[in-house]
């Protein structure tokens, strides 16, 4: 009788939408999860071995080139670098169609490292002077190539990771093409580009860290939140002038965004840069007037306050979110 009552009550709660049938199942899913975890562990070991294999291939190519550069003729040099890049990429494509996705991604990563090297060697052997515009064009081609591979090869994270890397390098290369840096004696355009690239990485992270995306893409999103925050803060801290004031708004913004976007990396970087900022401002504006000993005491106190604040925010928002995810 009691059993029937309990089941009836459970059924009513499910129908009312207070709990889902998945919640009920999850209560008894512990032994199955353990089996899955065991399987995941063995898969992860294999993936790590794939990764190590990829690194070994790269090291082999680089060692082969470094040791035998003078002994290799032009054709051999191009074959070892660009030829190898093409062959490895072709293998990655074949393995992708055979559903060996992780191995395919590892080989793609190897080819993406070899392609710039191979193109460089090809141009060197063809006696083509590599100037900033050529570098920009090569990086543009590599960005398009990797981004296209992302869509063609089952949206593997390696492709989009390299697309972001090549795209970021491309932006700096184009700026180098249009701006002659040494005589102008100003790093500001590069700092503004770093700032804007920080925002771009943040926006890309927002796109990648959506629930419908794969776990690996979500992880890339987390990484991009960190790189984006780093770029934004390092540039706005270095620009000086009016940015010494604007930095306060930027860092407050990243603190708020870290909570909104649940990005622990963003929170930690914001705290670190806030401490750097306090050092910088104290050194520039207050160290002379109050003296370094007092300034250091003030910096120390504010550093502790920032650390406590970060810890509290982390505990309140991130630990809670973690518990929610686990429950």
């Amino acid at each position: 009788m009691q059993k029937e009552q309990l089941l009836q009550e459970l059924k009513q709660q499910v129908e009312a939408g207070n709990i889902s049938s998945a919640d009920v199942s999850s209560l008894f899913a512990e032994p199955v999860q353990t089996e899955t975890q065991k399987k995941n562990f063995s898969v992860n070991v294999v993936n790590v071995l794939y990764g190590i294999g990829g690194i070994v291939i790269l090291s082999g190519v680089i060692a082969l080139l470094a040791q035998n550069w003078d002994g290799l003729n032009s054709f051999a040099r191009i074959l070892v670098t660009l030829g190898m890049a093409i062959a490895v990429y072709a293998s990655a494509v074949l393995l992708n169609y055979k559903n060996h996705n992780v191995l395919s991604e590892v080989l793609s990563a190897v080819s993406y490292v070899l392609f710039p090297l191979g193109i460089g060697v090809l141009m060197y052997e063809m006696d083509v002077q590599i100037e900033s515009l050529q570098v920009s064009i090569i990086l543009t081609a590599l960005t398009i190539f990797t981004a296209t591979s992302f869509f063609l090869l089952k949206k593997g994270v390696v492709h989009i990771l390299f697309a972001v890397i090549f795209g970021t390098m491309m932006a700096y290369a184009y700026l180098g093409t249009v701006y002659s840096d040494f005589i102008m004696q100003s790093a500001k355009p590069y700092l503004y580009l770093t700032l804007v690239l920080g925002i771009s990485h943040g926006l890309l992270a927002y796109v990648f860290k959506q629930p419908q995306q794969k776990h690996s893409i979500n992880m890339l999103g987390k990484l991009l939140y960190a790189t984006g925050t780093f770029g934004l803060l390092v540039a706005s801290l270095s620009l000086g002038g009016i940015w010494d004031v604007l930095f306060v708004f930027v860092v407050v913004g990243t603190f708020l965004l870290s909570v909104y976007l649940h990005s622990r990396g963003m929170l930690i970087l914001s705290s670190i840069f806030l401490i750097f900022y306090l050092f910088k401002i104290t050194a520039e504006y207050f160290a002379q007037s109050v003296g370094w000993p007092i300034a250091l005491i003030l910096i120390g106190i504010t550093t502790i306050v920032v650390a406590i604040g970060t810890f509290k925010v982390n505990q309140k928002y991130f630990a809670h979110a973690g518990q929610q995810l686990r429950s």
Partner: protein, 178 residues
């Protein structure tokens, strides 16, 4: 469209920065209005312990060769055997032409103003501009060139010299001519 907006903005922002820099560098260069030509000398080192046998100077509004050997002998200074003779050049900002001058040719021009600031008020300095891809030079290639950094107010542009094979870092601006 709304779904892809963050992606579009992420890709457009860096391009926007590069575009703004391109415009800010190229537009003032087009608006540059320097009617006077500049006469300058390279390897022209009138000061220091190691001196050339002669240098070019401006005297009474004309470029003159000044023999410093006699001067230095009276001052008991060492005379360096010059590795390269001082050379004279004239640069036209309107046509962007660079020509080498002999001392006789240079002496025929009337110097209307000496120093680094042109009669139009442009501040001129000579130096090297790297055309590299910043820290991302993949294969060590770069395309730097010597030229003029021209400043007036907030404007700052770089004018590359057409042929700098005989010109080094030490261009000595002697004066401005019509």
């Amino acid at each position: 469209m709304k779904k892809n907006l963050p992606l579009i903005v992420a890709l457009a922002l860096p391009l926007l920065v590069v575009g703004i820099v391109l415009i800010s560098v190229s537009v003032p260069a087009q608006e540059l209005d320097i009617e006077h030509k500049v006469i300058f000398a390279v390897n022209n080192e009138p000061y220091g312990n190691y001196q050339d046998e002669y240098v070019y100077i401006v005297s009474d509004g004309r470029v003159e060769r000044f023999d410093i050997q006699e001067f230095n002998e009276s001052q008991h200074k060492r005379i360096r055997v010059p590795q390269e003779e001082p050379k004279l050049y004239i640069y036209d900002f309107e046509t962007e032409e660079l020509s080498e001058l002999s001392s006789e040719e240079a002496g025929q021009f009337e110097i209307v103003k000496t120093g680094n600031i042109s009669p139009e008020g442009y501040h001129l300095s000579y130096g090297y501009a790297g055309g590299s891809a910043g820290i991302f030079d993949l294969f060590g290639g770069y395309s730097g060139n010597y030229g003029w950094k021209i400043e007036k107010g907030n404007m700052s542009v770089f004018k590359e010299l057409p042929d700098t094979s005989g010109i080094y870092w030490n261009a000595d601006i002697l004066g401005w001519v019509r």
